[in-house]
């Protein structure tokens, strides 16, 4: 049986991308196989583990539970888009590095995207709130202590950067 292909256009990390894919192509597979963005990882493929979490129009969603064709016309941010404009580590990535928030690293992309969106909503989380925020993501290395520390550190880095920017703006 030859499957009908759908032309799918999505803006990924600010760049318009287009590819043809069958209706049953999951967004996570579309990003990986059709667009070559292998940062998004697939763990359980039924929405439990959170490894495939990407931002759709800025909102965290499971890329294994959305068809690429349903995402047509939307903006997607993957872990590749969570770095700084110069390709340097983004705030959440830097915090993960500093706090040893990753061990094998498989679950990390889902954590980075989830935390990136969460800190926009709540820039100053308590430890308890940080735990709740990552509650939908599984780390099979069980590195949660360091991941919670990374959430709090990322919030700190964001505040430091804001302060730096305000300072630089004031000086100029």
């Amino acid at each position: 049986m030859t499957e009908q292909l759908h032309q799918i256009t999505v803006t990924v990390n600010g760049v318009a991308r287009r590819a043809d894919a069958p209706a049953r192509r999951l967004l996570a597979d579309f990003l990986r196989m059709d667009l070559g963005l292998t940062g998004t990882h697939l763990g359980c493929e039924h929405g439990v583990c959170g490894a495939c979490t990407v931002l759709m129009d800025g909102v965290p969603v499971r890329a294994c539970l959305i068809f690429a064709v349903s995402a047509d016309g939307h903006a997607i941010t993957t872990v590749e888009g969570c770095c700084d404009s110069g390709g340097e580590l983004g705030p959440v990535q830097q915090a993960f590095q500093e706090c040893h928030g990753l061990q094998c690293g498989f679950c990390t992309p889902g954590f980075i995207t989830t935390i990136t969106a969460y800190l926009e909503e709540n820039p100053k989380p308590t430890e308890e709130e940080a735990r709740e925020a990552i509650g939908g993501n599984l780390c099979r290395c069980t590195g949660y202590q360091n991941i919670v520390a990374a959430v709090l550190r990322a919030a700190e880095i964001l505040r430091e950067r804001d302060a730096d920017q305000a300072g630089a703006g004031g000086a100029a």
Binding site: M1, E3, Q4, H6, P22, A23, R24, L26, D29, E45, H46, G47, G50, T53, V59, P60, V61, R62, C64, L65, I66, F67, V69, S70, D72, T114, E132, A133, G135, G136
Partner: protein, 282 residues
């Protein structure tokens, strides 16, 4: 695993969606949030020939509140219901319960109306609709619109009375009358997981604080949301909880024995009724 091959339709209007259901309903599934349907497809527990994706029906992406209650359109996400302060003020139970639906990322995509049609006996929103005596509005080309009361909507586990050619377009959650307090609580192994037992309660009092109505609803304790009236116990929450737990018929599974579930129901019911009462007691 990956989903089986499927023919995809992405209608732009409700009329178009209903027309597609009239034509293909017997072999099609409606795809809204997909947070229950897509896992089933991925695991190949279901293999519809066609998907009718309603995600472009922006006209159904609403949470509206009026003097009567809250109306939730088919494309409103759980997170839309959670964030709508006007809906919380009119029907507090909505926010109390929706916060325990899976994890925030799942709530960003999953829809409240989709959860009702899916009729999972472990899901929160069907129980909320049942406790509040709400309704679901269905539309088809064959029969136009019809309204189904919650008591008639949930037929069995994973089975609602929404027919193959019908689209569930709206859920209606009536505002509780008079001085009514509500509460939702559940116990699960991990926050956001399916509850071993969940209970929602609603307690109405008169000006003097006497209980005029008290009800509890359960998830994970039977094939459909079970509403138990415990008004007769007055404000004796322990005996109300005892009475309610005796009405339930939970089953054993790998997470908990039936006996343990009944124990949880008793404990949670007493605490929940007390909290609902204290929210409105003078």
């Amino acid at each position: 695993m990956k989903p089986p091959p499927v023919v995809y339709h992405g209608p732009d209007t409700v009329d178009e969606a209903v027309r597609l259901l009239a034509e293909h309903g017997a072999h099609a599934k409606v795809l809204a949030g997909g947070q229950s349907l897509v896992p089933m497809l991925n695991m190949r527990l279901t293999a519809p020939a066609r998907l009718i994706d309603v995600n472009r029906l922006d006209e159904l992406a609403y949470v509206r509140t009026d003097l009567e209650g809250v109306r939730v359109g088919a494309l409103a996400r759980h997170s839309d219901v959670e964030r709508a302060t006007h809906a919380f003020e009119a029907v507090p139970l909505l926010r109390q319960a929706v916060r325990t639906v899976a994890h925030p990322t799942i709530r960003n995509r999953g829809t409240t109306v989709g959860s009702l049609v899916h009729a999972d006996p472990c899901a929160e929103m069907p129980a909320v609709l049942a406790l509040l005596d709400g309704e679901v509005l269905l539309r088809s080309e064959r029969g136009g619109e019809r309204v189904v009361k919650a008591a008639d909507f949930f037929v069995g586990p994973m089975e609602s009375s929404c027919q193959e050619d019908e689209l569930a377009v709206e859920a209606y959650f009536p505002k509780p009358k008079g001085r009514t307090g509500t509460d939702w609580r559940e116990l699960s192994r991990r926050n956001g997981d399916y509850a071993m037992c969940g209970v929602g309660t609603s307690v109405r009092v008169d000006e003097s604080g006497s209980v005029t109505s008290a009800k509890a609803v359960y998830i994970g304790m039977g094939p459909v949301p079970r509403v138990v009236d415990v008004t007769a116990a007055g404000a004796d929450w322990e005996s109300a909880a005892e009475h309610a737990a005796d009405q339930l018929d939970p089953e054993d599974d790998i997470h908990a024995t039936a006996e343990y579930r009944r124990h949880l129901a008793r404990i949670l019911t007493a605490r929940s009724l007390k909290a609902a009462y204290e929210a409105v007691a003078p």
